[in-house]
């Protein structure tokens, strides 16, 4: 069996004095595309932030490994340098700092995206539209030369045309180059464009099921809602 790129063992995380993640077990291998579906407040974004080491979230129990090395206590910047990056759902504005300035500071390789050209001389994320934010995020993470990219709700706030543009970019710049991708999504629109190898469903801080058939998972969720997933018998491989 292929060695996992990222492995999470029994991860319990608290945020705002409340336990949000209640024993997450997760693996992703090199070049794999996985999806993580779940309703609002199920803990999807917290998992992404915890993987990246956001100090706001405290690890109660459990361990994270990247390329076989334990990274549970690593600072966010160290994780980024190892190649774990996150595309934020709502990235904050950095006032007074142009996107080109930020890229100059963080870049480990030069990246050109046609769609980002008009954003380079603007202040990072300030008054960006939903689509502009996603492009700004994409150019930043590509400049970091990542091994694993986590997309937190990349499909939120995008119309279908924009979603297709963003999906094509992800495919061209990441998937075709064998970068691992974890797509966190509420509604799952982006999955039709990127076709994950494995789809996880998260409820109340736990990954409750996994399937290699994303269409089946989406169909069940659309038909019955997330509560049905708890009782679902035909989705394979309970963790």
């Amino acid at each position: 069996m292929e060695k996992p790129l990222l492995k999470i063992e029994n991860l319990h995380v608290i945020g705002d004095e409340k336990e949000i993640l209640k024993g997450i077990n997760f693996k992703i291998t090199s070049g794999q595309i996985q999806a993580l579906l779940g309703p609002n407040a199920s803990g999807k974004s917290t998992l992404a932030q915890a993987i990246l080491g956001n100090p706001k979230y405290k690890i109660l129990k459990g361990r994270l490994y990247f390329l076989g090395k334990e990274i549970t206590k690593f600072l966010p910047e160290k994780r980024a340098k190892l190649g774990i990056v996150l595309v934020w759902q709502s990235p904050p504005a950095i006032k007074g700092v142009k996107l080109s300035q930020l890229l100059e500071k963080i870049s480990r390789r030069s990246v050109e995206i046609e769609e980002a050209k008009g954003l380079l001389e603007r202040e990072v994320n300030l008054d960006f539209s939903g689509g502009e934010k996603k492009i700004s995020e994409l150019i930043q993470i590509l400049a970091l030369n990542p091994k694993l990219v986590i997309f937190d709700e990349i499909d939120s706030g995008l119309d279908i045309e924009r979603l297709e543009i963003v999906s094509k970019l992800i495919k061209k710049e990441l998937i075709n180059k064998k970068v691992s991708v974890l797509l966190i999504t509420h509604w799952g629109q982006i999955l039709d464009f990127l076709k994950p190898d494995l789809t996880n469903v998260m409820l109340d801080g736990k990954i409750i099921c996994k399937s290699d058939d994303y269409k089946k998972v989406l169909k069940v969720i659309k038909k019955y809602g997330y509560e049905k997933c708890k009782k679902c018998k035909f989705l394979a491989g309970r963790p």
Binding site: G53, P55, K56, E77, G96, V97
Partner: protein, 303 residues
Amino acid sequence: MVTRNVKSVNFWQVDHKIKNISQIPGNVILPSPQAWQRFKWSRIYFEREPREGYFIWIKKEVDFPLAACINIASPKISQDLTNLLVIEKGIKVGANVVCSAIKNNLCGTHKAKGKLVLKNGSSLEYNHLHQWGKKDYVNPDYEFILEKNSKLIYTYKNLFPPENLLLKTTIQSNENSSSNLNFIINGLSSKIGILDKVNLLGSNSQAIVKLRLVGRKNSQIEAISIISALSPSRGHLDCRGLVVDKKAKISLTPRLICQNKNAQLTHEASIGKISEEELTYLRMRGLSEKEAIDLIVTGFLGK
């Protein structure tokens, strides 16, 4: 290095010695004591006989910015400068003035009393850059006299402040004159006092004052920014502070004084800390905590 290319500047003083004066045809640049002797009219502005400093009299348009550089290079020097810049009617000019200590540990004193006179219809864009050592004491006290229809853009930038900085700036704004003032100060274990006052004396005079103050390490910054309107005029204060470290303190007082019913004065003021979300975001892009703070501060100061 701040002193690079100083030989090409119009006025260059190191400690108490004038190193170079480069005249511009049609205009006059002198040490202030010589101007006091030579031009009797200058005494109205100097107030007292100057010991040192620059006198620049712009009578003819200059198509490049004037440059002046005043350095402290030796230990325990105490400069007592009196500067005068006079711009004649209708002339537009830019000026870049650098005052600095060339080392960090000279324990120098730099006192500068300056008067800048913008005559009818003239215009000045003045960039004032300060860079000091940790143990210096610095006290600039500048008064700008804006005659009718004149226009001033003044930017004071101090990213390497001394241990003690007392900065006083006064603007006398006459009919139809306008001023745009920017104070950009990065406090690093410094005690900083700022007092700026704009007197809107003439009708239709205007002023915008912008303060950007950063408190790092154990800086103590106290700023009072005043616009006083005596005529139908408009003024706006925009004061913002960013407290970076636990021991730093910023006190901001915007004050509007209105003595004319047709004047319009407004202000906005805020002091905040660095957003944890922004910090985490930048760290997730691979910047260390210090690099991320430096970048946020750079953006805040608009460097």
